[in-house]
């Protein structure tokens, strides 16, 4: 093949093959929604879904970055919880600190993530155990501090959740979409981003190729903590308080979109946009099932079956827990 044959050809299909399943499922849900419910297709509904999806979106984005480098983060829920309590209780005492505390909370999340990564690298303990341990410590600390929702934030902060740009676009949802776009660009268009996949594919090969694997791993866990804190900020904005239980369901929930998006536990593979589609799929599905008055309980069953369905379809090689 001569040089000239190659150059003009455009980048393959716009659609990554690993996204086909999630796209098909998403299309199925949308079609079902449009035909089964009058309210599903309204602009207002999509605005609401987008806003409510943002917490799951932040959490799944962080989880995805860790999964790409071959890890897993079971402390996301605990970081979400701790962030809400930290932010709401500090700001209640010193309302003037609202804006600095937004950054402070995000830094706190990133720090916890950094600790996860650091302990994983230094001890060689499976990230499952490390992040489980961190989660337990954080949850314990928060519950010692308070058993009830606590703290408060200035009224204007609810704009993050409830604010709409042009009456349609929720601010939180927009921020989430921007985060995904930035993460996508980072993973695709920077050397450091490509290195995430290399480290997840084979840490030893990455090291021997001159990639600083440890640094990449630390970045991934820090980012996960950061985005968990983002989800925490969203909850504070939505409810106005710090809730010592709010993060509990988030940890496991954050894994489902990652799996649906075609990432594999063990790392090295997958498109972050698939995760975003996975977030939409889960959010729209529960939205639709709510309209159809399907009980939450049945929704759980469906969620479990979706996980099994998704992982059974994607071919899994080299599984590690």
């Amino acid at each position: 093949m001569a040089l000239t044959d190659i150059q003009p050809r455009a980048r393959r299909l716009p659609l990554d093959p690993s996204l086909i399943i999630v796209v098909l499922l998403l299309a199925g849900v949308v079609i079902a929604g449009l035909s089964l419910s009058d309210r599903f297709g309204t602009l207002r509904n999509f605005t609401n879904v987008l806003e409510q999806a943002s917490a799951l979106g932040f959490a799944s984005l962080g989880q995805a970055l860790v999964v790409i480098v071959g890890g897993i983060d079971l402390s996301i829920g605990a970081i979400v919880t701790a962030s809400t309590v930290l932010m709401a209780s500090v700001v209640e005492l010193h309302p003037a600190l609202m804006i600095p505390m937004i950054f402070g909370t995000l830094a706190f999340g990133a720090l916890i993530g950094f600790i996860n990564g650091y302990v994983t690298i230094k001890t060689g303990v499976h990230p499952l155990i490390v992040t489980l341990g961190t989660a337990s410590i954080l949850n314990g600390a928060v519950l010692i501090f308070t058993l009830q929702p606590t703290g408060g934030v200035p009224f204007w902060f609810e704009e993050f959740a409830y604010g709409r740009i042009g009456a349609v676009m929720p601010i939180s949802g927009l921020v989430m979409l921007i985060c995904f776009a930035l993460a996508w660009g980072f993973l695709r268009y920077t050397s450091t981003g490509r290195a995430f996949y290399a480290v997840g594919g084979s840490p030893e090969a990455a090291r021997l190729t001159g990639i600083r694997s440890n640094r990449i791993t630390l970045m991934a866990y820090s980012a996960s903590g950061f985005f968990a804190a983002m989800a925490g900020a969203y909850f504070v904005s939505r409810t106005g308080v710090g809730d010592p239980r709010v993060g509990d369901p988030i940890t496991l929930a954050s894994i489902t979109p990652v799996i649906l998006g075609g990432l594999i536990l063990g790392g090295g593979k997958g498109n972050i946009l698939g995760v975003l589609l996975g977030v939409f799929l889960i959010s729209l599905l529960s939205n639709l099932l709510n309209y159809m008055n399907v009980s939450t309980f049945i929704q759980w069953v469906i969620q479990g079956l979706i996980i099994i369905f998704a992982v059974s379809i994607y071919v899994h090689k080299g599984k590690k827990l």
Binding site: I72, V119, N139, L265, V311, H316, L321
Partner: protein, 320 residues
């Protein structure tokens, strides 16, 4: 019991420490507890602790089998609660129904374990996801059936399982001892146990020496589920009421106990005795927190610290 595990010549100190770390930790914790509260070592108190520990320890024994074959069972707690709800579904009033309930519980549990095992072996689903999905599915079915709040009733005799005594020993402690003996024989004395260690240590080599590793793995998931089901019944007997969250958190506690007890998540390494000791250590720590008058939530923090430290120590010893 560790004799088939390799002894290496001139093993470094760290490796020796590993072998004795678990009993040393156990004794040290008992020392701490006695120092804080001299009545700790009284037979009554020890019996109380064992009674409390029994349901968790039953789950831990099963979990150890799964972890030994490089697996993980996150569905155990959800299964415990589901079995508890199943028990009330009979609305039995006569104690004669207890055996029927028992058989039904074991059968359902075995089926759950079979599905987990099939997903992991035949569909190649990662154990984490397969059992996570099972956990959620069971939870959904359970809540749907109870519509959020269980309403059935249990025969009076059920209390006996959790709180009764035989020959002066609590029934659930007896059940634990019996399970430990049977499973200990299975794991450490039978050829099936050897197959577990071979499969967990090197699944490829296991197939090449003619061991049907898929069957071994499936059997381990079934053991885990059945133990969880039985533990669920005992826990209901102990607590006395059924709710949808019976055993909540046990899946993680069981994994923590195994790791503290030296059962490695990488498979093929660890003993049943270690796992049981891990469960006892965990329960002892919970008790010491209470004795010291610390808030209950401090248990969570200490648990988190301990699992990281224990896992790090074992990882270091294995590398040496």
């Amino acid at each position: 019991m560790t004799e088939i595990a390799a002894r290496s010549g001139g093993e470094p100190f760290a490796a020796k420490l590993q072998q004795f770390a678990v009993p040393i930790a156990l004794v040290a914790l008992m020392g701490v507890a006695t120092a804080v509260q001299p009545s700790f070592l009284s037979p009554n108190n020890l019996q109380d602790i064992l009674t409390q520990a029994a349901p968790l320890a039953l789950v831990v024994l099963g979990q150890a089998f799964v972890i030994l074959v490089r697996g993980l069972d996150l569905s155990v707690a959800s299964l415990m609660a589901s079995v508890a709800v199943l028990a009330t579904a009979f609305n039995a009033t006569s104690d004669a129904m207890i055996p029927v309930i028992f058989v039904a519980a074991v059968a359902v549990s075995a089926a759950v374990g079979l599905i987990n095992g099939l997903l992991v072996t035949k569909r190649n689903v990662s154990p984490f996801l397969a059992t996570l999905a099972m956990m959620i599915v069971l939870q959904g079915i359970r809540f749907y059936y109870t519509q959020g709040s269980p309403s059935g009733s249990l025969p009076e005799g059920f209390r006996f399982l959790g709180a009764g005594q035989m020959l002066g020993i609590p029934v659930n402690v007896l059940a634990l001892a019996l399970s430990f003996a049977v499973l200990g024989w299975l794991l450490h004395k039978s050829s099936f146990g050897r197959k577990i260690y071979i499969t967990g240590g090197n699944p490829v080599a296991a197939d090449l020496v003619g061991i049907r590793s898929h069957r071994v793995i499936i059997a381990c998931y079934m053991i885990s589920s059945v133990m969880a089901g039985i533990a669920g019944l005992f826990l209901v007997g102990f607590v006395g009421t059924v709710d949808n969250w019976v055993g909540r958190g046990y899946e993680l506690d069981a994994i923590v106990a195994c790791v503290i007890g030296g059962v490695a998540l990488t498979g093929g390494r660890g003993t049943l005795w270690g796992a049981a000791a891990g469960a006892l250590i965990l329960v002892l720590i919970f008790n010491i927190v209470i004795i010291l008058g610390l808030p209950v939530q401090a248990q969570l923090m200490i648990k988190g610290l301990i699992i990281i430290i224990a896992a790090a120590l074992f990882a270091r010893a294995q590398r040496a």
